[in-house]
């Protein structure tokens, strides 16, 4: 794939987000994460609960102040000091869709006001008529209809609410959308509807997505490239087909083998890698490689040195000592 020629939209470099959790304890939710997102692509971010994938998304869009590192959007630093005006123009380019369609819509606002909030703030409509026209158009884009505009959120099902959330994000014509688990609260048949809608919108509007989820099969379906997170770090990043066919990191391998496949024959014959134990606490993560406490291939070096983030194959990045060439050469000698 011609990764090199594509235009970078977002560059995340050594991003850290730490939370103070009292008594000198620091929770390192995101610890030194770097990746790029190219224009028009979908980057999937997967991991288990507590791995920092949502925090990463929220820090990128400046819902959280970054502890260290930087995020640049089209070359401009997102976290730098900004005037209100600059912030406003930046907010128009980046939007977010949230996980819980029940909690992310204000129950006291009508759908038209929810969707038009961004339009009002950014002054995108000259008069009331134009405002309503935009709302109607957005409702139709996401598969709802005009009659829904004056209703309240409680009158809608989960899938419909998520469509409203998408319409709200689209209202300001963004280029980049962060979707934080947009489908995990929905039923299977409705999930497919929302994913299809998101893919259709991407094609029509040239949107770029950061798609955060824990459902690996859905992420593979929607993403061009996928990053796997574990305890605040990205452990592997590759084209989605490559990642699913040839996962390099032991954690990715375990994660993939843990997904139950809807095929009884496959399930009966499959050898699973079952990880021992639970995810360690991010307040006091293990030294060296953070996965070593559960890793079936852990070596001595894993406890002492943090594995380097390196390109094991073209476009396939991994942070694991198993793929550390210097180390492997040493072992051979």
């Amino acid at each position: 794939m011609a990764v090199v020629e594509r235009e970078k939209l977002l560059e995340v470099k050594n991003l850290k987000k730490h939370f103070n959790v009292g008594k000198n304890a620091v929770l390192k939710a995101v610890d030194d994460v770097s990746f790029d997102i190219y224009k028009g692509e979908t980057l999937g971010l997967v991991g288990e609960s507590g791995c920092g994938k949502s925090t990463t998304g929220r820090t990128i869009i400046r819902l959280y102040e970054a502890t260290a590192g930087n995020v640049s959007y089209e070359g401009v630093d997102v976290h730098g000091k900004k005037s209100k005006k600059e912030l406003k123009s930046f907010n128009r380019k980046m939007q977010m869709i949230f996980q819980d369609p029940y909690a992310s819509l204000n129950p006291r606002m009508t759908i038209k006001d929810i969707i038009a909030e961004g339009i009002d703030i950014h002054g995108l409509a000259k008069n009331d008529k134009e405002r309503m026209e935009r709302v109607y158009e957005l409702l139709e884009t996401v598969g709802l209809n005009r009659a829904h505009a004056s209703r309240y959120p409680h009158e809608f099902s989960g899938g419909q609410r998520q469509r409203i959330g998408i319409a709200r994000a689209l209202a300001v014509d963004p280029d980049f959308i962060i979707a934080d688990e947009p489908i995990s609260a929905l039923d299977v048949s409705i999930q497919a509807q929302v994913v299809n809608l998101m893919m259709k919108l991407q094609k029509e509007r040239g949107l770029t997505y950061l798609f955060i989820a824990h459902d690996l099969s859905m992420v593979k379906h929607i993403s061009d490239r996928v990053g796997v997170m574990y305890l605040g770090n990205i452990v592997e990043l590759a084209e989605s087909d490559e990642l699913y066919e040839e996962p390099l990191h032991p954690y990715t391998q375990a994660l993939l083998s843990a997904i139950p496949v809807p095929d009884p024959e496959v399930e009966r014959s499959r050898e699973r890698i079952i990880l021992e134990g639970d995810i360690p606490s991010p307040i006091s993560p293990p030294s060296g490689c953070r996965f070593r406490t559960r890793c079936p291939h852990a070596m001595d070096v894993c406890a002492s040195a943090v594995p380097k983030w390196q390109e094991a194959r073209e476009g396939h990045w991994v942070a694991c000592h198993l793929y550390d060439n210097d180390l492997n050469n040493e072992n051979k000698q």
Binding site: E48, S49, S157, G159, Q160, D187, V188, S189, I190, Q191, A192, Q193, V195, N196, M199, H214, L216, S217, M218, K220, H221, D241, Y244, A254, L255, L256, S257, A258, I259, P260, V261, P262, D263, P264, E265, V266, E267, R272, I274, L275, D278, I279
Partner: protein
């Protein structure tokens, strides 16, 4: 007797301010000794209500078993008094709930919660019960059970808590275990651990399991037979192989094809359009008719009966009637074909 549990034409309704919600409408099921049966369906399909009906855990004031019988070893559970039901609940039939965070009592030690059932149902002394509780914790794979028995739920992680819930459910060697979305709140790697544990325990103890889930992957992993529920009715039932490899009901096709498969690269998922029916006012005919691409006039007017595909495989769909046009399932629904 082969069937340990049998549901015949069970109807359950809730009385709400808006009117009567017919959550379960004419469900018939059977569970054989030691087998595992999955009930699959989306939210609101009636799968959890069915399981709570068996356990008689529905609120007495607002719900009602309108019709039907639930035979457990030949006894009709719907006719038992609360006192009699208490003797069965937790000892002969027990249940695992979805969220281990809320199904454990945060103010009681884990050991006490396991011993509670043992002391009540099996008249064990305190020391005997404690010993048994330690063994149970060992059985479900919790390290240092002698120490952990004195700890509180908040000292356990999500996966460990679910293990404790399983230990409580298995304490009195139940004949039937109902697991209502036992792994939905857990991460995939932890889910794999728990599924492994449940399969292992079923082989060891010979308990029959009713697994309630919306995840077809979990079904394929754990169950021998499946019942697919939609709009309060069972639309298809059969062995796991029959339902996955030779599905007959368009809703099952829709479910199977709306899941992305890891080994294929279709660009668009086949979504089921629309939303499930409102059971406050359930449709007269087939509940899936409004969303079904093959719906005919008869589907709207009359509820289809379950027709036999094989002796174990049934589906309630007018397409199986000999007068209906022949329809092939969409390619995306063919699980075997994707391999």
């Amino acid at each position: 007797m082969k069937n340990i549990l049998e549901l015949n034409n069970v109807n359950v309704s809730f009385h709400t301010f808006a009117g009567e919600v017919k959550a379960v409408r004419g469900v018939s099921l059977h569970l054989e000794k030691g087998e595992s049966l999955a009930i699959v369906g989306e939210s609101g399909s009636g799968k959890s209500v069915t399981s709570k009906t068996i356990m008689r855990l529905l609120p007495e004031k607002t719900s009602e078993i309108k019709e039907g019988e639930i035979l457990f070893e030949g006894r009709d559970l719907t006719k038992l008094s609360n006192r009699e039901m208490e003797k069965i609940r937790g000892s002969e039939i027990s249940m695992i709930f979805q969220d281990p965070m809320t199904s454990l009592n945060p103010t009681m030690t884990v050991g006490k919660q396991i011993m509670e059932g043992l002391r009540k149902h099996q008249n064990l002394s305190k020391n005997e019960a404690k010993e048994r509780a330690i063994n149970l914790l060992k059985l479900v794979g919790i390290p240092n059970p002698e120490i952990r028995i004195g700890e509180y739920p908040h000292q356990f992680s999500g996966g460990m808590r679910q293990r404790v819930v399983i230990a409580i459910a298995l304490a009195c060697n139940p004949k039937v275990l109902i697991a209502d979305e036992p792994t939905t709140a857990l991460d995939v790697t932890i889910q794999a651990q728990i599924l492994d544990l449940m399969r292992d325990l079923q082989q060891k103890t010979g308990t029959a399991i009713i697994l309630i889930t919306h995840d077809l992957g979990v079904v394929a992993n754990l169950s021998q037979r499946v019942a697919v529920m939609y709009g309060g009715t069972i639309v298809e039932t059969g062995t796991t192989d029959e339902v996955f490899y030779n599905p007959k009901h368009p809703y099952t096709w829709g479910l199977l094809s709306s899941m992305p498969k890891l080994n294929t690269n279709d660009k668009e998922l086949l979504a089921i359009p629309g939303t499930p029916p409102n059971l406050l006012n359930p449709p007269k005919g087939c509940p899936f008719a409004a969303r079904c691409p093959y719906a005919m006039q008869v589907c709207v007017d009359h509820m289809p009966d379950a027709s036999d595909v094989t002796s174990t495989h049934k589906a309630a769909c007018w397409l199986l009637d000999e007068r209906a046009p022949k329809v092939e399932p969409p390619e995306a629904a063919l699980v075997g074909g994707a391999r």
